[in-house]
């Protein structure tokens, strides 16, 4: 069976701010996507393309094993190997710009200055529709988690990037913090034009017979359905704290899941781990969102953004959904 292509539906179009409009709100999460997926289906159907985070120079990943499973989730300690920005521009970017979807380049840094250098280098490069600033990877010895947990550092990084890059700048936040609202505000303050949340939660899985962690490092990042309730809550907090458009990320496997984020206030969503589970998940989500706008008679998916009420309340006969959203399992 061939993968079914989706048709563009104008009701799914969304605006991520700073001129970044998407034909639909569905994109891959950084690190869970590559041009290799292009052999499976036409990537031009996606709202945007997000390559794995790049660094300015070359760096290696972590010792193997780099992935393991946890209940309804996975743990990764990939560690962001990167061949550097020049290699990215010459070898990888052309693999992405072949498709009819804007490319949002995810950038990382071992220190604050690396972000500045990357922003400067990528500014004006054709094919770079925007930047996602990864201040949240918990696997890095330096940079990553430390920068993303401090409002002052976050503001500084975003200021540096937005001063140097003329286009959309999305701050990607870590969940390993006390107040994601504060970090979102700091990002806004620093000039971010959108927020994406969340990255992986720091976690650890142990092989008790071998008395070792199951990945090559002590800790890894937890992703997948297991973290979805936490991610939805954080997106809701971010949306309550800032007025920027938000990309909701964390455990999305279906249109139903994507809608949780949209109802919590997200303008768009990104699919990470579920791309491994089922490589056509993003197309399933797009199709499911079409069904939702259709059955809910919406002129735009944006009409339900943030339309969330508290508490389902107990009913002796709970209100049965008139038109259940198709989505797998649960």
């Amino acid at each position: 069976m061939a993968v079914q292509d989706t048709e563009t539906d104008s009701r799914l179009g969304v605006d991520l701010g700073a001129g970044l409009t998407l034909k639909n709100p569905v994109m891959p999460a950084s690190g869970c996507f590559g041009p290799e997926m292009g052999t499976l289906f036409d990537l031009g159907q996606l709202g945007a393309l997000v390559p794995k985070t790049i660094f300015y120079g070359e760096r290696a990943g972590n010792p193997a094993p780099r992935t393991a499973e946890s209940p309804a989730g996975m743990l990764n300690s990939i560690g962001i190997p990167s061949r550097g920005v020049e290699h990215f521009l010459t070898e990888l970017l052309p693999e992405y710009t072949k498709y009819d979807s804007p490319v949002i380049v995810s950038i990382g840094g071992l220190g604050i200055e690396e972000y500045d250098r990357l922003a400067e280098r990528l500014n004006g490069e054709p094919g770079v529709a925007g930047l996602e600033v990864n201040i949240s990877c918990p696997n890095l010895e330096a940079g990553g988690m430390e920068i993303g947990a401090s409002p002052a550092n976050v503001e500084r990084v975003l200021r540096g990037v937005s001063d140097r890059f003329d286009g959309p700048v999305i701050a990607k936040l870590t969940p390993n913090i006390t107040s994601i609202a504060d970090i979102a505000k700091a990002s806004e303050q620093g000039g971010a034009t959108a927020i994406s949340a969340i990255n992986t939660l720091s976690g650890m899985v142990i092989d008790v017979d071998n008395q070792r962690t199951v990945t090559g490092t002590m800790t890894g990042g937890v992703s997948g359905p297991a973290i979805r309730p936490i991610a939805v809550r954080m997106v809701w907090q971010v949306c309550s704290a800032v007025s920027l458009p938000v990309v909701g990320i964390g455990g999305i496997t279906s249109a139903k899941d994507a809608l949780e984020f949209i109802l919590a206030g997200a303008t768009a969503v990104a699919v990470g781990t579920a791309n491994f589970t089922r490589p056509t998940t993003m197309l399933d989500v797009i199709e499911g969102l079409k069904t939702y706008v259709e059955t809910h008679h919406l002129s735009s998916i944006d009409d339900v953004r943030g339309q969330l009420e508290e508490g389902m309340r107990v009913a002796i006969e709970p209100p049965r959904p008139a038109t259940p959203v198709s989505g797998r399992a649960g």
Binding site: G61, A64, G330
Partner: protein, 305 residues
């Protein structure tokens, strides 16, 4: 077919600083990433297809037959990444890499033989004929069989045998002589006998129950085959001791040795970097089992290529 060495030091940037011990490969063996040399192995597709059958064929071992033209047209050594269950929202969420045990190009089917070792393979064993299964495949670089080869040696242990069985069919088709050593924990679970029989190959079946699988026991047989000059290429999967043995015996006789490696995978396509070859580097990434492997060339340590 020369190239980048996994344990090379600084000379080839991509794999610089990698450490073989991470792989727990015997320290006497070093790996080489094969050059594709213009050969394009079949590209991966997303296969959403019916399970034709899924039966227990030996204790803890199952054979799942699926209908798929793409998989049936893979090459020996390529594999599939299979989703064990049908739900996407619940455990397990990662697909499992599985070698293709046998193709039937005419019937458009591919067989997977797997051993139930954990939750995912247990979930696979629960699937029934008629269920839909999702597979990304065929993926990976196939085993090369050179045009000048007229004999091959195949050495496998446990489910490692499943990565080698498609070589049997292919060799048979090309009238290449087959010599195999298949090993397992006990007699019941020695795999690949059916394939050898069909191809009328020469095989030694050994197992742990009577000590016949001891390296000292299989060494004379393998040694004799290699020294006799009857094989030009050797393929190993599923045992460190056997990889070390074959590499050691094959090198002096100029028999090329190939190994198929395992690694924890997520995408199976080369983008997630889950399956780096257990090696890490100070400055750059090591090869990926799913994209640069699973088949690698083996050399004795100390050989520079």
């Amino acid at each position: 077919m020369t190239s980048e060495l996994l344990d090379a030091n600084g000379t080839i940037p991509v794999f610089a600083g990698t450490h073989v011990p991470q792989l727990r490969l015997p320290s006497s063996v070093r790996l080489e990433v094969m050059q594709t040399n213009g050969h394009h192995a079949p590209a991966a597709t997303f296969v959403e297809t019916e399970i034709i059958s899924n039966e227990e064929i030996a204790p803890e071992h199952y054979l799942m037959r699926v209908r798929s033209e793409a998989l049936a047209n893979g090459e020996p050594g390529q594999f599939g990444v299979i989703r064990p269950g049908s739900a996407t929202d619940i455990h397990p969420i990662l697909p499992r890499p599985m070698a293709v045990y046998q193709y039937d190009k005419a019937a458009c089917t591919a067989d997977f033989v797997y051993r139930v070792v954990g939750y995912g393979t247990a979930a696979m064993a629960q699937r029934r004929a008629g269920d839909i299964v999702e597979i990304v495949g065929p993926v990976g670089r196939p085993f090369p069989i050179s045009d000048t080869t007229n004999g091959i040696l195949i050495v496998g242990r446990g489910i490692g045998v499943c990565s080698l069985t498609t070589l049997i069919d292919e060799a048979n088709r090309r009238n290449i002589e087959i010599y195999a050593v298949f090993s397992a924990r006990n007699k019941d679970v020695v795999l690949g006998k059916d394939m050898i029989k069909k191809a009328r190959g020469n095989a030694l079946y050994v197992d742990d129950s009577d000590g016949s699988s001891d390296v000292e026991n299989v060494e004379p047989w393998i040694s004799e085959i290699i020294e006799s000059g009857r094989v030009q290429q050797a393929y190993v999967c599923g045992s460190n001791r056997l990889i070390e043995l074959v590499t050691r015996l094959a090198a002096p006789a100029d028999v090329e040795t190939y190994v198929s490696l395992e690694a924890h995978m997520a995408c199976g396509l080369g983008y997630c970097h889950s399956c780096a070859t257990g090696a890490f580097g100070e400055s750059a990434e090591s090869p990926l089992v799913c994209r640069d492997g699973p088949v690698f060339r083996c050399h004795p340590a100390g050989v520079t290529v």
